[in-house]
């Protein structure tokens, strides 16, 4: 009797926490929709793409509201960072799990955990004072897509590496024994057995890394130059959607303020698309 009552309370608690988690996501989306509504109404749908530039004003009729260059900035910086960080992170996880002696592996893992814990503003500070001058030396002005992508690479590398490392650690011993009994070489085992078994976990790591790269604000704001333009080379300064919100929120009013919520909504849409895509790909790999 009392046991079933405990169960019932547990069920209530679990449902409540589940509902809160779901509600937070819905509330955030609802909030973004409400706040972006005035701008959507006054600017319309097409002007976000067709306007000649980003020159927002508090009344929609006078301003220009093209978000596309910043969208490209966000996608380019995050895309390059993920493309660079993923192979590095996977290699470091494989090294840590299968090649490094235990003491070195432990030390190495600790270092990567530390790397994951460094605040983003510190990455930005380093980028601004060390990386940007270096790039400037070769190709002025230095603040650029390249600087942003490099800082982001360093920031998401530990995220992906730690999750990949955990995924590799969770590969069932049965698979490893089967591979050993079949006399597979170590690279053969890793490529043929370990990666397929750890695919879902590795994928989650890449997804979280991508999310972090898209959402990162402070570090990219410090090193990217924040000029609104579609980048045509790695050395062009860019402004990302996140940096745009952070830079302009303090003084934005009226439709301008509302337009910033539209860019927040765009970020949200990218992340949702990413999760949906990952879900599809993950289902395609639904072995194991």
């Amino acid at each position: 009797m009392s046991r079933s009552r405990t169960d019932r309370w547990l069920l209530v608690g679990l449902r409540a926490s589940g509902a809160v988690t779901g509600a937070v996501v819905l509330l955030v989306i609802a909030f973004l929709l409400i706040e972006s509504w005035p701008a959507s109404r006054h600017v319309g749908l097409s002007r976000w793409i067709t306007d000649p530039s980003w020159y927002p004003t508090s009344s929609a009729a006078d301003g220009r509201f093209n978000l596309v260059p910043m969208l490209w900035g966000t996608l380019a910086a995050a895309g390059i960072a993920v493309a660079l960080a993923t192979p590095l992170a996977l290699l470091s996880a494989v090294f840590c799990r299968f090649y490094a002696p235990p003491t070195i592996a432990r030390f190495y893992r600790r270092m990567i955990q530390l790397l994951a814990g460094i605040p983003s503003v510190v990455y930005g500070l380093w980028g601004l004072t060390a990386l940007v001058p270096l790039i400037q030396h070769f190709r002025p002005p230095g603040t650029s897509l390249l600087a942003g992508a490099a800082v982001l690479t360093l920031m998401i590398l530990p995220t992906i590496a730690l999750l990949a490392d955990a995924a590799l650690a969770n590969v069932p011993g049965d698979h490893l024994r089967a591979a050993a009994a079949a006399g597979l070489s170590r690279p053969g085992t890793i490529r043929g057995v370990v990666f397929p078994a750890a695919r879902a976990g590795i994928f989650t790591g890449i997804l979280l890394g991508t999310g972090r790269a898209i959402g990162e604000t402070m570090a990219v704001l410090m090193v990217c130059g924040n000029i609104v333009q579609t980048p045509t080379s790695l050395f062009d300064p860019i402004r990302t959607l996140t940096a745009n919100i952070a830079l302009e929120m303090a003084y934005a009013m009226g439709d301008h303020r509302s337009a910033l919520f539209v860019s927040g909504l765009a970020l949200m849409a990218i992340v949702i698309a990413l999760v949906a895509m990952a879900d599809r790909i993950g289902r395609g790999y639904a072995y194991a």
């Binding site: 024994r177 591979a179 079949a182 006399g183 597979l184 070489s185 053969g188 057995v193 397929p196 072995y287």
Partner: protein, 278 residues
């Protein structure tokens, strides 16, 4: 009568046969082979030869070192932390326990099937292709032929030929076990180690796998651990009885299957065979 191990365990196992006959030359020779896991002795001082091309069954209660003995033969014991192997072990002239031994080459020649089917988490095709390509036994052009031939050998081809690209986990337990057997056979081994290959299967799948094992006689040397005495009696040419004595497994008796089962020389063997012990 009461049996106390102290009085019954002889220092040397009872060999019922005369030393290896010329028509059954030995392929595996173990001398004073012992395995320890840390302080725990899995088995002690096993001296024994296993004949080429025959099916040899290892019987005995759980925990008496039968599986540990198997894992010495392909050095899978290397994977177990704190495991140490002592003595000498020779397979077809290869000093198995030497640090200089090419373990990968050894494991190509000595295949192993486990109690629980353990296909790789990839497609059926890739389960066979992976070891073939990794050992460079064929190239990408001929790999499909090899896969078909191997799957036919275990009677799986007709059942899976239309879904080679599906995950191996879509197969039933018995099919998975046959796939694992195919994976081992693809490498053209000399010796197959089977660790209770049927015990996780339903009776019908178990029968299919058992028939397959019988069909391997002569072409491969098969060493099988089984708790199913009837199965051992049905399929094995030779049998060896392990028993736990003083915390360590020991080889008590070995010889042709018929004499071990019908005319055991050692009272412990007799008691175990007749269901009195273990």
């Amino acid at each position: 009568m009461t049996m106390t191990p102290d009085t019954l365990i002889p220092t040397k196992p009872v060999a019922v046969t005369v030393p290896p006959r010329p028509d059954h030359p030995p392929i595996i020779r173990a001398e004073n082979l012992s395995v320890r896991y840390g302080d725990h002795r899995a088995f002690d001082q096993v001296t024994w030869t296993i004949a080429r091309g025959r099916i040899t069954a290892l019987i005995g209660p759980s925990g008496c070192g039968k599986t540990s003995f198997l894992t010495c033969l392909n050095r899978l014991a290397d994977l177990v932390p704190r495991c140490s192997v002592a003595g000498t072990l020779d397979i077809d002239g290869m000093d198995v326990l030497s640090a200089a031994t090419d373990v990968i080459a050894l494991r190509r020649r000595v295949g192993m099937i486990f109690q629980k089917p353990n296909p790789f988490p990839v497609s059926i095709r890739r389960n066979i292709a992976l070891p073939l390509l990794d050992h460079r036994l064929c190239d990408r052009r001929t790999v499909d032929d090899h896969i078909e031939r191997t799957l036919r050998a275990v009677g799986l081809w007709g059942e899976v030929k239309d879904r080679l690209n599906q995950s191996a986990f879509c197969l039933s337990g018995g099919q998975q076990q046959r796939l694992c057997l195919a994976r081992a056979l693809a490498l053209k081994p000399d010796i197959l180690l089977l660790d209770e290959p049927c015990s996780a299967l339903d009776p019908i799948s178990s029968g299919v796998v058992e028939d397959l094992i019988v069909s391997l006689r002569g072409r491969y040397t098969v060493v099988i651990v089984t708790h199913n005495l009837a199965q051992a009696k049905r399929i094995a040419d030779d049998a060896a009885f392990f028993w736990l004595d003083g915390g360590a497994g020991r080889l008590i008796e070995h010889g042709p299957c018929r004499s071990v089962f019908e005319n055991p020389a050692h009272p412990l063997t007799r008691a175990y065979i007749h269901g009195a012990r273990g």
